[in-house]
Amino acid sequence: MYSYTDFDAAFLAERNAQFRAQVERRIAGHLTEDEFKPLRLMNGLYLQLHAYMLRVAIPYGTLKSAQMEKLADIAERWDKGYGHFTTRQNIQYNWPELRDVPDMLDALAEVNLHAIQTSGNTIRNVTADHFAGAAADEIADPRPVAELIRQWSTDHPEFQFLPRKFKVAVTGSPHDRAVIKAHDIGLRIVERDGEQGFEVVVGGGLGRTPMIGKVLYDFVRSEDLLPTLEAIVSVYNLLGRRDNKYKARIKITVHENGIEDIRARVDARYKLIRDQFTGVDQQMLSRIEADFAAPTFKSADTAAFDRAYRYDPAFQSWADTNLTAHRNPEYAIVSISLKAHGKTPGDASARQMRLMAQLARRYGHDELRISHEQNVILPHVHRGDLPSVYNALRAEGLGTANIGLISDIIACPGMDYCALATARSIPVAQEIATRFDELKLEHDVGPLKIKISGCINACGHHHVGHIGILGLDRAGVENYQITLGGDGTEDAAIGERAGPGFSADEIVPAIERIVMAYLDLREDREETFLQTYRRLGLAPFKSALYPEAKADAA
């Protein structure tokens, strides 16, 4: 975990004081809204449908217990007792009042958290694999380089007014859990001839024009990474379109110019700026890497786990779905579901946040992670402690055994909160989860990712959902389009649109028809939904979705 220096703390204090003065001037009438809006957005403060919304960065999704407890304190003191974790590993508060926000930012700074660059056309919160530093399949922990990128990009003078927002994700594993191919820049730690470096992917993104990123370089040495990133963002800053915000993201720049042209430009820029990187960044990286040293793992009896797994079916079910292999076989990675059936995906109450912090402190080496799938992770839990952790979670409504299953739905805030949304997404997620809980089919269906967005901006990642749902406004009525076959992993794919959309009343039965068709079509229980879809294509699912069309054709 990165330790803030005196410089970092002073920077945050100065920045918060600056914003406090800006808020005071706005309230006193000395700043117009047009003057104030860019200033508040630079500090993560939006004005949404019902209230302001403060978006707080959780760098690469990593938190210590004290930080999670502070998020809970803020939720209780200045909000309505909960927070919403997002697909970019941020937390959003939906109900702050303007005059309280400077105090909220000061409270965040007490635990080295902030809201800088969580909005605006700049490099946003750098995200990473939520199992970083713990996963059995990991080549190297991606968080030190994510922290280096955060430090490089924060208040970078050249990159505060890019053509559009810019998102970077990093993974240190061959299995991509950070959706790197749907980011403006995706980085994957790779090995070549015994040396670690980075595969650099550019031009991915979802939204109005979804695209899978292209490999710009298959191997960049560690000492060349920052100058390479600087060259890429510089080229985008010059070349990216500013005439049309819908064509401004780097995915369009790459698409319109071609990856070879972009590579040539980046190469040229790199040659010009390379000498400016004198190696200080690598010294910084070494210091950061020391901060991310693995905890001291204990060796202890795991009999408690074996007993619970054998005699407690509920624990067994939870262990089967919510645990992931740790690099230390005596340990496990715990995914805590924030998707209890019928609840709002990604929301945690202050009480739940405090419990998760306490469990991390007692059983998890003081570490928590926020996943892009809107769940919370305890990355290092000894297997012997898992029954105690599970019982504590279950008592607070956090023991749902559904990670990776049909009710583990990503859902953006949608029109219940978001000023940009064109339809709601939360109620759809709630109804699907409730329906499949009633049917008791969830575990039979197995791995299936449903992702819902309330508008074309795709904050809910619907394009890379095995089943994606996009909420739209069709003549003043909420309407939901379905895409199938999307994938956010290393085999990334954009889902295929199934056909005409469904009304709010029709969408859950439509999803049920798709899932029932899968159960009929799969070769055996081992064949997942995505595998069945890839084997058979859209046609049989389309027939299930639109039975009336089939009848008309007959």
Binding site: I27, G29, H50, A51, W95, L98, R99, I426, P427
Partner: protein
């Protein structure tokens, strides 16, 4: 052919709290039922200008159509219905004080 003007209210967000407000006969009100329903386009233009000038009180002033057939303004679009009521998932926003 220009679109016929439909009964509307003036709405915005309060500067300090951020919550949804409507222009009433005597100033900004929190409840759509207390909003002034404007039926004349010229009146709407003038009231919009007046409301927009109150930048120290409200943010993002605009006209929203309503159905006033019952004598109480009701939203005609689902977005305005959510703004008037609050979110679906919690009894927060306007629902807390309703």
């Amino acid at each position: 052919m220009p679109k016929a003007f439909k009964p509307s209210v003036i709405t915005a967000n309060a500067l300090l709290e951020g919550d949804v407000v409507y222009l009433g006969p005597d100033g900004w009100v929190r409840d759509l039922a207390d909003a002034e329903v404007i039926t004349d386009e010229a009146d709407a233009d003038i009231r919009l200008l007046e409301a927009g000038a109150q930048a120290d009180t409200v943010v993002g002033v605009y006209l929203a159509e309503v159905d006033n057939s019952s004598g109480t303004p009701e939203p005609t679009h689902f977005r305005e219905a959510f703004r008037a009521k609050g979110p679906s998932n919690y009894a927060h926003g306007k629902q807390e004080t309703a």
